[in-house]
């Protein structure tokens, strides 16, 4: 039975042992003092009782010293030698005394110490210890010697025998029995009996990790039973024997009945104790069975989890040999369980890495802890057919009865790697495509710019010629043309000029589409007033009432927003030309989205809401050119600019009731 190392009972045993060794020395010392000063109390406790002898006292002192040395677990040869000398001397004291009894000689060794000090009167051999005591010392010496040489089994038997002799002495005194036969020579003294018992217990407790002491202090049922049963087994017969004797001596019953009474009582008490012990052991066993079942259940669960794990699990021992594998390990490596068990784990590592792996494995074994293997590295494993595959490995140490084991959980990440590679490639392709598209877009933009430039330059040149020569014709050949001819020429010139305007507006629209938006705070009120002032300049004769809300600001492009206002205001200006009291206003309000919306409102001719969708399309016009001139590009430009700002533009109106144009930025 293995004792728990640092249990409090264990420590108590050792302390008890140390105390016993000290008491042995003190006891021996007191007895010697008693002889030196002839003090009966120290020699026999109760005056008139048998005396403890000086030789015995010396033996007790030596036994105390030897026990103390044993307790110190001294390993030095001096200490060891000293213990041997002491044990031999103690045994010799016993043996020599016994020899005196057996051979019937008296060479005077009993009175070697304190030859003048008187023993009890009537002692057959003054100063000589009882034969039991002498025998006990032979065993005391033997016990100490063997504890020293660590033949502990026999040492403990000797110590138990010494205890029995001590018990014999004590019980004799308890029952006041005058020994007969051999015992009649001399009786064991009370202090001697007590000290022998003390030595026995002290010696047994000196090594609590083994023997009786270990059993008594052990946890669990066995220890508990021993702790109750052992004292009971010793005390019950003694107690009942005394009771029997007591009753008999006081004439309560005769010898035979006393014997019966004692036997039955002892049986009854011991039976009760056995019943109690059996129950205790039974409960212990039931608990053990329960624990065993729980262990089996846990083991089953673990085994199932181990076997059915989607990852391969390989247990490797200290020597790098595989000792355990699961089904997945067989599957992903292509080996059978039989092939794997006992094989070196390097069998599963790519050839080029086996050496390094063996080194790493040894390093890991010196500091085993749960961690991913080769963190940050791309790990590979080798199948039976020699092919390699990428893996993730988790390492975890497990302590087993047969030494440390490293459980490697290995995941085949071929599929994951493939998916990752695919994603990477897709990303790269996407990036390429973006680069390509951007280049295409840039090229298209360049082309568009070149086209715009060309339109601006080359398309206008012939128009100028048509107009210019038309005028020349009117100037130089007017006399040869009739009114019709002159009218046609005017129509031609009107058209060319309109087309020139169209080209200009188209260019403006395309510039707006391409321009980058640079937002900054813009004073819209100021801007509106500037635009209106410009319009008043073109037609100073018109009376138009204009109102702009104060402090209108916006976050927008300061080059593009004026184009918005110019278009909206010039429309308003144009379409109010027939109103009696033309009025144009601009204001802002908080819109639903939490931003601000702006509007330009006029009381002009308005428009039919049925055509509202056409308002903002390029070249879409709701009025005849004869009524209101225009290219139909202004509102398209407004819409483009507003959209480039991420805003919205819409209109409300009715025929003859003016129009309102709203926008957000």
């Amino acid at each position: 039975m293995t004792a728990t190392a640092a249990s409090p009972l264990d420590a108590f045993c050792r302390s008890f042992s140390r105390a016993a060794s000290v008491l042995l020395m003190l006891g021996g010392g007191f007895i010697l003092l008693g002889w030196a000063f002839n003090l009966a109390v120290l020699k026999s406790i109760v005056p008139g009782y048998a005396t403890a002898k000086p030789n015995a006292a010396v033996a007790f002192v030596m036994a105390g010293v030897a026990l103390q040395l044993l307790m110190a677990r001294a390993t030095g040869s001096t200490a060891r030698g000293l213990i041997v000398v002491l044990s031999v001397f103690i045994a010799l004291i016993g043996a020599a005394t016994l020899a005196q009894y057996v051979l019937g000689v008296n060479p005077g060794i009993d009175r070697l110490l304190f030859p003048g000090s008187p023993d009890n009167p009537g002692s057959p051999y003054p100063g000589r210890m009882s034969p039991y005591t002498a025998t006990s010392f032979v065993f005391v010496g033997a016990a100490l010697m063997q504890f020293n040489t660590e033949i502990q089994k026999h040492a403990r038997a000797c110590a138990v025998l010494v205890g029995l002799f001590g018990l014999l002495g004590l019980v004799s005194h308890l029952y006041s029995v005058a020994p007969e036969g051999l015992a009649a020579y001399t009786q064991m003294a009370l202090p001697t009996a007590a000290l022998l018992l003390l030595f026995s217990l002290g010696a047994l407790c000196a090594f609590p990790e083994r023997g009786v002491a270990a059993l008594v202090i052990s946890r669990g049922g066995a220890g508990a039973v021993a702790r109750y049963l052992l004292p009971a087994a010793i005390l019950v017969p003694v107690l009942f024997g005394w009771l029997r004797l007591y009753g008999q001596q006081h004439g309560l019953y005769g010898t035979e009945f006393g014997l019966v009474l004692m036997a039955v009582s002892a049986s009854a008490v011991l039976t009760g104790l056995v019943y109690w012990s059996a129950g205790k052991i039974g409960r212990g066993e039931a608990e053990q069975n329960r624990l065993a079942a729980a262990l089996r259940e846990s083991e089953n669960m673990f085994r199932n989890a181990f076997e059915s794990s989607p990852d391969a699990i390989v247990g490797v021992n200290r020597d790098g040999r595989i000792v355990r594998v699961n089904q997945q390990a067989e599957r992903i490596f292509g080996y059978s369980r039989g092939d794997l068990i006992g094989a070196p784990v390097e069998m599963l590592i790519p050839m080029r890495l086996t050496e390094r792996h063996a080194q790493n494995r040894q390093d890991y074994m010196s500091h085993p802890h749960m961690r991913p293997m080769g963190s940050g590295l791309e790990l590979s494993a080798r199948r039976k057919d020699g092919t390699e595959f990428p893996v993730d490995v988790m390492l975890g140490p497990v302590e087993t009865n047969s030494g440390p084991l490293v459980l490697s959980t290995i995941r085949d990440i071929t599929e994951r790697k493939r998916a990752e590679a695919e994603i990477r490639q897709l990303n790269a392709e996407l990036e390429n495509r973006v680069v390509q598209r951007t280049a295409e877009l840039e090229a298209a933009n360049k082309e568009l710019e070149a086209f715009s430039y060309s339109v601006s330059h080359d398309l206008r040149a012939p128009l100028r010629s048509i107009d210019g020569f038309g005028q020349a014709l009117l100037d130089d050949c007017a006399s040869r043309l009739d009114d019709n001819g002159r009218h046609y020429l005017q129509r031609i010139r009107g058209s060319t000029q309109h087309m020139g305007q169209l080209i200009d507006d188209l260019l403006k629209l395309s510039r707006v589409a391409r321009a980058e938006i640079h937002r900054e705070p813009v004073d819209l009120t100021q801007m509106a007033q500037t635009v209106i002032a410009g319009l008043r300049g073109t037609e100073p004769g018109r009376q138009v009432e204009f109102q702009a809300q104060d402090g209108m600001t916006a976050d927008g492009d300061p080059r593009l927003l004026p184009i918005v206002l110019e278009n909206l205001f010039s429309n308003a200006w144009k379409f109010t030309s027939r109103a009696e009291q033309a009025r144009i206003e601009m204001a802002s309000f908080a819109n639903d989205a939490g931003g601000r919306a702006y509007y330009v409102r006029d009381n002009g001719v308005g428009f039919d809401m049925a055509y509202v969708d056409k308002l903002f399309g390029a070249f879409q016009r709701l009025h005849a050119p004869a009524d209101f001139p225009g290219t139909g590009i202004g509102l398209a430009t407004v819409k483009r600019i507003v959209h480039r700002h991420g805003g919205r533009v819409w209109a409300e109106g009715a025929v003859g009731k003016g129009a309102t144009f709203y926008f957000t930025l």
């Binding site: 715009s452 430039y453 601006s456 330059h457 080359d458 206008r460 040149a461 012939p462 128009l463 100028r464 010629s465 107009d467 210019g468 020569f469 038309g470 005028q471 020349a472 100037d475 010139r493 060319t496 000029q497 087309m499 020139g500 200009d504 260019l507 510039r511």
Partner: protein
């Protein structure tokens, strides 16, 4: 008016004719030298090639320079004129169809004295030419030679 010449750099014969007509109708009777591409314009100004015989001391009062020209374009002509010590102070007015922002910026950056866009409407063009002639031939004092 006076004996100052005008150098018209214009590749389009229609534009050339209309411009000359506009001068005429505005009674601008000064000599108008016409060249048809950028190279010829430079030859004229530096008295090279076909214009070797020209008196270099007699520089035009103003050069009316189109931007889109064969061989050497107008902006390049302007750059070379400004780079040469002999013509660095020559008055150059860009007279073109383009109103592209880039052309305006480049023209002024290279040191054009003025930038005029030819309107489609001939009436307006006439007005432009009239003011141009009056300004550069009469009002403006050329740099001393």
């Amino acid at each position: 008016m006076n004996d100052r010449t005008i150098l018209l750099v214009e590749d389009n014969p229609d534009d050339e004719e209309l411009t000359l007509r506009a001068f005429r109708q505005n009674n601008i009777l000064n000599e108008v030298a016409v060249v048809h591409d950028g190279q010829e314009a430079l030859d004229y100004l530096f008295c090279e090639g076909a214009h070797t015989a020209r008196d270099p001391r007699h520089m035009p009062a103003v050069v009316l320079l189109d931007l889109k020209l064969p061989k050497i374009d107008g902006l390049e002509v302007l750059r070379r004129v400004r780079a040469d010590e002999r013509t660095r102070l020559q008055a150059v007015v860009i007279l073109t169809s383009s109103k592209e922002e880039q052309d305006l910026v480049n023209g002024y950056r290279l040191g054009a004295n003025s930038y005029i866009r030819k309107p489609v409407d001939f009436t307006k063009f006439m007005e432009a030419v009239r003011q141009l002639g009056f300004y550069w031939l009469v009002l403006n004092e050329p740099p001393p030679r």
